[in-house]
């Protein structure tokens, strides 16, 4: 058992991908699995900033939304192929991250959260008003991924299983990148900044630059999640940019376990599955999800995955 846990930890990306490969088989229907994949990635990108660097942004909907819209606009108005459109979505989100991050990292604590929230609201209104490009209140419609032929396999986004596995390729690549980043020298620096900024500066690390770089990377990953969501839904709803999405990222991270590699993914899966199951029973699903959330924050502050990891650690080193 301990050997297995150690093996999984060493090859965490492979383990995650292996799990995600069979994941659709475990879910009641495939659209939910795709949703979890996308929001799992969104939460992982957010966690890089929140869990690992200690910066609580309330504006990450902006990056999800910018990624979604720019991917969609590139396809609908620009007629670009979906791969290139996705790249544009990611770059646009990174650029939005650079602008918002540049302004936000000048502040700390609650002010940082408020600045990110305010700037994300500006992004919301810009896209809301730019109706000609974004469809305004109705959202951006008409995003079509054509049928592809890859090495003899017919890939059609109408088929949710094919769609799931195409999206999984991108999510797996992003997870690999995040894992490498966390294990890199820079990964050590961001944790040092989270632990103590003045000591990190006294150690010779440029705290502002480090924060900005993480902010941009986090935005790019969330932008990728957004772009994939546009391909998944074929539309970009305006609520992609709504601050409730930012709040969801926070909830998913806390629920799964902030500052753990796979925790945000678990949080996203639990959150979305709960939402899906409870909405069939009552309209007031928010109350149920909220209660579950509070239960975990109060009694398992390390989150579902974080608590599990701690237990396993204790079992391995009593």
């Amino acid at each position: 058992m301990n050997g297995l846990v150690a093996l999984i930890r060493r090859h965490r990306v492979a383990a995650v991908v292996l799990f995600l490969l069979v994941f659709p088989l475990l879910m009641p229907y495939h659209a939910l699995a795709v949703n979890i994949l996308i929001f799992g990635l969104f939460a992982v990108g957010f966690n890089l900033l929140f869990g690992y660097t200690g910066l609580l942004s309330f504006g990450h909907a902006a990056f999800l939304g910018v990624g979604s819209y720019l991917t969609g606009i590139s396809m609908v108005h620009g007629g670009l192929p979906w791969g290139l459109a996705l790249l544009i979505g990611v770059l646009a989100a990174a650029l939005a991250g650079l602008l918002i991050g540049y302004l936000a990292i000048r502040t700390r604590g609650i002010y940082f959260s408020m600045v990110t929230l305010a700037l994300a609201q500006i992004v919301y209104y810009v896209f809301y008003k730019a109706e000609r490009w974004t469809g305004g209140e109705n959202g951006l419609r008409g995003i079509q991924v054509p049928v592809m032929d890859v090495a003899g396999f017919r890939i059609d986004f109408i088929d949710p299983v094919s769609k799931y596995y195409v999206i999984l390729v991108f999510v797996a690549a992003a997870m690999w990148f995040v894992s490498r980043l966390l294990a890199s020298p820079f990964g050590a620096v961001i944790e040092a900044v989270r632990e103590n900024e003045s000591r990190a500066a006294a150690c010779g690390y440029d705290v502002a630059r480090t924060k900005l770089l993480v902010f941009v990377i986090s935005a790019a990953i969330c932008g990728l999640a957004g772009g994939l969501r546009a391909l998944h839904l074929s539309v970009v709803p305006i609520d992609s940019l709504h601050y409730l999405q930012s709040g969801q990222a926070v909830m998913m991270c806390l629920l799964g376990g902030m500052g753990t590699f796979f925790g945000p993914f678990v949080g996203a899966a639990v959150f979305l599955t709960l939402e899906d199951v409870v909405t069939t029973i009552t309209r007031h699903w928010m109350a149920v999800v909220g209660a579950v959330f509070m239960f975990f924050v109060l009694f398992f502050p390390a989150g579902i995955w974080g608590t599990l990891m701690k237990r396993l650690d204790r079992a391995a080193h009593p």
């Binding site: 490498r180 980043l181 294990a183 890199s184 020298p185 820079f186 990964g187 050590a188 620096v189 944790e191 040092a192 632990e195 103590n196 003045s198 000591r199 990190a200 500066a201 006294a202 150690c203 010779g204 690390y205 440029d206 705290v207 770089l213």
Partner: protein
């Protein structure tokens, strides 16, 4: 005489109307152990914060190895070769003792590499182990810094400061809050360190530094009142009046 390692030229620091440092000048020779002493409120901590790069001075210049470093950001001071230990223990609490020192040592090797695994940088891990050994924390390498005793955390800070291979080590009351035994160990460590590099201590307890420092500077009301060898300071009537007189 070799050229000074640190030159303080007419430094003032004002906080609003309050003048914490008033036009102080001093120069420090390489390879020496010097101490800044003075009663409470003399401006010692302000002096430390200015020369270590935490505060930019309101006026005056700061030169390190002949280069003007006035107003550089904090991390640049570290990169130039000035390391510091804080008065209030400042370590990365959730990280292991080993990781604390390793990340401090990493500054010279890599700061923005995103993909290379840090496991591959084994020389940093070895250096961190050697430094933990040196400050007497080898047995505690895997423990989170938060779990260490106060004296051990202070020792960890010294190891972190040394990890960046500093030319000049600045220490703000390194024995604050320590037991007599811990104080003894720390003072021995400082004496040993001073044999290899320049060290400037800021210390409230005069007795502690009398025995080990080659040169003392006495701050009083934000100005240097006297400077000299321990014997000269002991004989100085002004110092006796403002400092020793208080016990």
């Amino acid at each position: 005489m070799s050229s000074p390692i640190l030159e303080v030229e007419g430094i003032s620091k004002r906080f609003g109307k309050f003048v914490a440092l008033n036009n102080v000048s001093a120069s420090f020779q390489p390879g020496k152990l010097s101490a800044i002493i003075g009663p409470n409120g003399a401006g010692k901590s302000t002096f430390f914060n200015v020369v270590s790069g935490a505060f930019a001075p309101s006026a005056g210049r700061l030169k390190f190895q002949g280069r003007d470093i006035t107003g550089l950001p904090q991390h640049e001071f570290a990169r130039q070769g000035i390391a510091k230990s804080f008065q209030i223990t400042t370590v990365f609490k959730q990280l292991s003792a080993h990781e604390n020192v390793r990340v401090a040592a990493q500054m010279r090797a890599s700061r923005y590499q995103l993909i290379k695994p840090r496991r591959a940088m084994s020389e940093l891990a070895e250096r961190a182990d050697a430094l933990l050994e040196r400050v007497g924390l080898a047995d505690h390498r895997a423990r989170p810094a938060a779990d260490l005793a106060h004296g051990q955390q202070r020792a960890l800070e010294v190891a972190m400061a040394l990890a960046s291979e500093p030319v000049l080590l600045l220490m703000d009351e390194p024995t604050a809050g320590m037991s007599p035994e811990e104080t003894k160990v720390m003072m021995d460590l400082i004496t040993a360190l001073a044999a290899e590099r320049s060290v400037i201590l800021v210390e409230h307890k005069m007795k502690l530094v009398m025995g080990i420092c080659e040169r003392l500077l006495v701050l009083h009301h934000g100005e240097f009142l006297a400077e000299g060898t321990p014997a000269e300071i002991r004989a100085n009537t002004d110092v006796k009046r403002v400092y020793l007189g208080q016990g």
